[in-house]
């Protein structure tokens, strides 16, 4: 379904914010207030600015972001749940001239796919991974994620996540930063304009290290899931600022270009 006509200036209207050719004009399936849309926009802007969309291959994950490929105007391949970094390894090795990125949620990347994620990073695969952390399984209906906060109620932690039973939230960016093959690792948030601007820079740097052949580029984006958090979008943004960021501190944890 496209709304191409509606997206362009009608009579008397002035263009203040243009569509991005790397993102198509399809309406997304994401819930209102979900931050996937912002994350998509950031990645597509970076690909557009770098002028590499026509040689980019997206490896899509499983979760809410399964259908990422419906929105990006790039060649794409679907990976089994958790295996995006392994598939991306195969793609990158088979097509060394391509720009390759994965776009994965917290369950896909840090639970079922932890081994593939860490080993691709440790090998220094020249790929970029955009990791969306919203502390919950979105597509399957709000179950616990490896990043779920202590005390957070989900459909499988009905009494709240309890460290003695479920362990604590995984801080993946810090782990990534400790691996030799990782060239860039940063955590950003999508809860405010200021943070979104910073996130854009981080996404760009995570692609730059790939294009420069320096290694694995990793960016974690703290994102809101109003639906499964049972909050309105504004409250969800506040939740990121007050509850998530203290547990998942923002910043650049590794940048080989800076050291």
């Amino acid at each position: 379904m496209t709304y191409a006509n509606n997206l362009h200036p009608q009579q008397g209207e002035k263009m203040v914010f243009d569509a991005n050719p790397v993102l198509n004009e399809r309406v997304t399936h994401y819930c209102p207030g979900c931050h996937h849309g912002i994350a998509h926009r950031l990645v597509s802007e970076v690909l557009h600015e770098l002028g590499v969309a026509d040689k980019t291959i997206l490896v899509a994950a499983v979760g809410c972001s399964t259908f990422t490929y419906d929105y990006f105007n790039v060649d794409s391949v679907e990976a089994p749940h958790g295996r995006a970094c392994a598939v991306a390894t195969g793609v990158r090795r088979a097509r060394p001239e391509a720009v390759v990125f994965t776009y994965q949620g917290d369950g896909d990347m840090a639970a079922i796919g932890m081994a593939e994620s860490l080993h691709a990073a440790n090998r220094g695969e020249k790929i970029t991974t955009v990791f969306i952390n919203n502390t919950v399984y979105g597509m399957t209906g709000g179950q616990m994620a490896p990043t779920t906060l202590i005390g957070q109620k989900t459909t499988t932690t009905r009494h709240g996540r309890n460290f003695s039973n479920e362990g604590g939230p995984i801080r993946l960016t810090e782990i990534m930063a400790g691996l030799q093959g990782v060239a860039y690792a940063a955590r950003c948030a999508l809860d405010s304009v200021k943070h979104v601007r910073k996130a854009k820079k981080a996404v760009r740097l995570a692609f730059d290290v790939q294009l420069d052949g320096l290694g694995f580029g990793f960016v974690e984006l703290l994102a809101g899931c109003p639906t499964n958090w049972h909050m309105d979008p504004i409250a969800a943004n506040k939740h990121i600022a007050t509850d998530m960021i203290p547990i998942f501190p923002l910043g650049v944890f590794k940048d080989v270009k800076e050291t």
């Binding site: 026509d54 040689k55 980019t56 291959i57 490896v59 899509a60 399964t66 490929y69 990006f72 105007n73 790039v74 060649d75 794409s76 391949v77 679907e78 990976a79 089994p80 295996r83 392994a86 598939v87 991306a88 390894t89 195969g90 793609v91 990158r92 090795r93 088979a94 097509r95 001239e97 391509a98 720009v99 081994a115 593939e116 860490l118 080993h119 090998r123």
Partner: protein
Amino acid sequence: MNTEQMPDRILVKGNEAVAYGAVDAGLRCYFGYPITPQNEIPEILSELLPEHEGVFVQAESEIGAVNMLLGAGACGIPAMTSSSSCGISLMQEGISYMAGSHVPGIIVNMSRGGPGLGDIGPSQGDYFQAVKGGGHGDHRNLVLAPSTAQECYDFMFKALDLAFTYRNPVMLLGDAIVAQIKEPVRRVPPAGTRTPEYLQSLVEDQRIEGYGARGKNARPRLLKSVYLAEGALAEHNRLLQRKYADMRKEALFDCEDVDDAGLVVVAFGSVGRIARSAVRQLRKAGHRIGLFRPVTLYPFPDEALSALARGRRFLVIEQNIGQMAEDVRLAVNGASPVLWHSVMPGLFIGANELVEPILQALNG
């Protein structure tokens, strides 16, 4: 062919022959995780592929390996993985995705005894897993069963051809015997071999590469196996079934002394060659007996078997507790008796161990 014109033979293990065959056939990428009894495959390829500007990656697991294969296959690049039974079980999800996304690739299973950790001895216990799909959903792998080191070499060419012709996973199903046996191998491409460049051109309209590579007005391309719209998955499955029907013409088998035989032994892979010795021995003793060796296990050569059914009985011998016997019965469809003898997985048997059960079937 005149022997003087033939190139020198090299004495290599079945595993080594797989590696040499892969490189000679045009393999570009290998992804795998060590497991006995197939380790010579990754060991040799780790040396050869980089020397031929190819890619070798030791993956973190068989799950990693098969998904790297999916990635490279999606790019339309000749790629393979290899493992043994337990590792192949771990790969099934990825194989199903490959089948569902029409991704070419080669999976070598030098199988071992099971279930569970089993042993590293000879076994054909993975027959069902290989030929009935193995992973979830209605999918099929093309399956080749080598019985000699030479076939290990030759079948890598065949496997690559089939994978790209049908855009489908192809499995080479061997065992500890064919993996570890050392035999003379002629390292020359089999007759009818098509170039890797030609094979890759067969998937030009499907591979991912970055749409810019396809010219100015190219549209982005997507390889996927998910079809959620109403009726879309049904259509996808119909397409797959048409492809599997097309594959039927690829059935291959090896036949010996069946014309006047009253009893035909049916056996594949290593057991197929051991049975050949037993059949020859009994034939010399005057028994009217023949051998039928399926070379492709999927598609199963059922038409050829069915054509033999009139006036002949069959004895299926396999090193498992009765798997191919079911396909033989389906092929024969009641037209003649199908007997069955099981060799327990893990045993090392020679031809003499098969003589007695064959004699029993002859007299029975």
